[in-house]
């Protein structure tokens, strides 16, 4: 049985969800980036990385949740388009890695204020993964549709 997705009933839902998605992931990734730049020793010297993590934790979690839910709704408007898109698969891979990394290793290292070298390494991995998510998302519209198995 074919059920019409109510989100496709209006041409406004997609752009509104997109703006919600962009604003929320911007806050989520940006707050993580602030901690990463602190770990790299670039700016924000008034606080330790641990304090900064505690201060930004709520903003990151709330905005990440909004980004994930708006992302699922965006995905639901045309699932075929997305899961058969190489850039989307790249984005989701980066996203799963980025979230797992963030709430395990990144969190522990930032809170422990451990050795600067380890902090820098973790920050570089974190920035690379999150920027990978953004690149994957942007390129969804620009890569050839399909996975090339046809």
């Amino acid at each position: 049985m074919f059920i019409e997705n109510p989100l496709n009933a209006s041409e406004w839902t997609f752009p509104i969800l997109e703006v919600l998605h962009i604003s929320s992931f911007a806050i989520a990734i940006g707050t993580v980036a602030l901690v990463d730049f602190r770990l790299l020793g670039l700016g924000l010297r008034a606080q330790t990385a641990g304090q900064l993590t505690k201060d930004t934790r709520a903003a990151t979690l709330i905005s990440l949740s909004v980004a994930l839910f708006s992302g699922l709704l965006l995905y639901s408007t045309d699932p075929d388009k997305f899961y058969l898109n190489i850039s989307f698969l790249f984005k989701i891979t980066c996203l799963l890695l980025a979230i797992s990394f963030h709430y395990t290793i990144h969190r522990r290292v930032a809170l422990a204020d451990s050795s600067p070298m380890l902090g820098r390494l973790v920050a570089v991995v974190s920035i690379a993964l999150w920027v990978g998510v953004v690149f994957g998302g942007i390129f969804i519209e620009f890569v050839k549709p399909g996975l090339g198995f046809d």
């Binding site: 703006v19 962009i22 992931f25 911007a26 940006g30 700016g43 903003a59 920027v131 942007i138």
Partner: protein, 176 residues
């Protein structure tokens, strides 16, 4: 006048080079959006503190000072990548209603800075108008995100240079 300036700009060597590059526009767009994340986080954390909704353990002034550098660095990156994308398609963007809206919104951002910077952001104590400044800032930047995303929804006018290029591109890529 503005139109001829836009056409001149997009035909300069740099923007010709970027236009003819393989994925120049998409890469710049992704870098633009990545830097938006840094800038947005710094703006939102500052404004949430001004509103008293977050980071209440820190003084308003310490958050403003902490976020000043990421805000400026972030804005510089966003603006640079944004300008490079504009230059590639300046003629087309001249006609784009969302681009025009975005330019107007930036004039309001400038007005916001002129009005509130001396009164709120550069003061040691929190005077009145703090919440108004934060609310206006959040509303303006959200509107700019909307206008920015809207730009991509407008197709280039058929008479512009970019229309022919985009048609060729979508045909080659087998899109739509």
């Amino acid at each position: 006048m503005l139109l001829s300036l836009a056409i001149w700009l997009q035909n300069t060597g740099l923007f010709r080079f970027l236009r003819e590059s393989d994925h120049g526009y998409e890469i710049l767009l992704a870098l633009h959006v990545s830097s938006i994340a840094l800038f947005t986080a710094a703006v939102v954390l500052t404004d949430l503190r001004l509103l008293g909704w977050a980071l209440r353990g820190h003084s308003v002034q310490s958050i403003i000072n902490e976020m000043r550098v990421p805000k400026r660095v972030g804005f510089l990156c966003v603006a640079t990548f944004g300008f490079l994308m504009f230059g590639m398609k300046a003629e087309e963007y001249y006609y784009n209603v969302f681009f025009r809206t975005k330019v107007l919104l930036f004039l309001l951002v400038a007005a916001h800075a002129i009005i509130f910077r001396p009164r709120v952001y550069n003061r040691a104590t929190a005077p009145s108008g703090v919440k108004l400044a934060a609310g206006c800032s959040l509303a303006l930047w959200l509107a700019i995100v909307c206008a920015g995303r809207g730009i991509g929804y407008i197709h280039p006018p058929v008479f512009s240079h970019h229309f022919a290029m985009q048609t060729r591109y979508t045909t080659e890529m087998g899109l739509k």
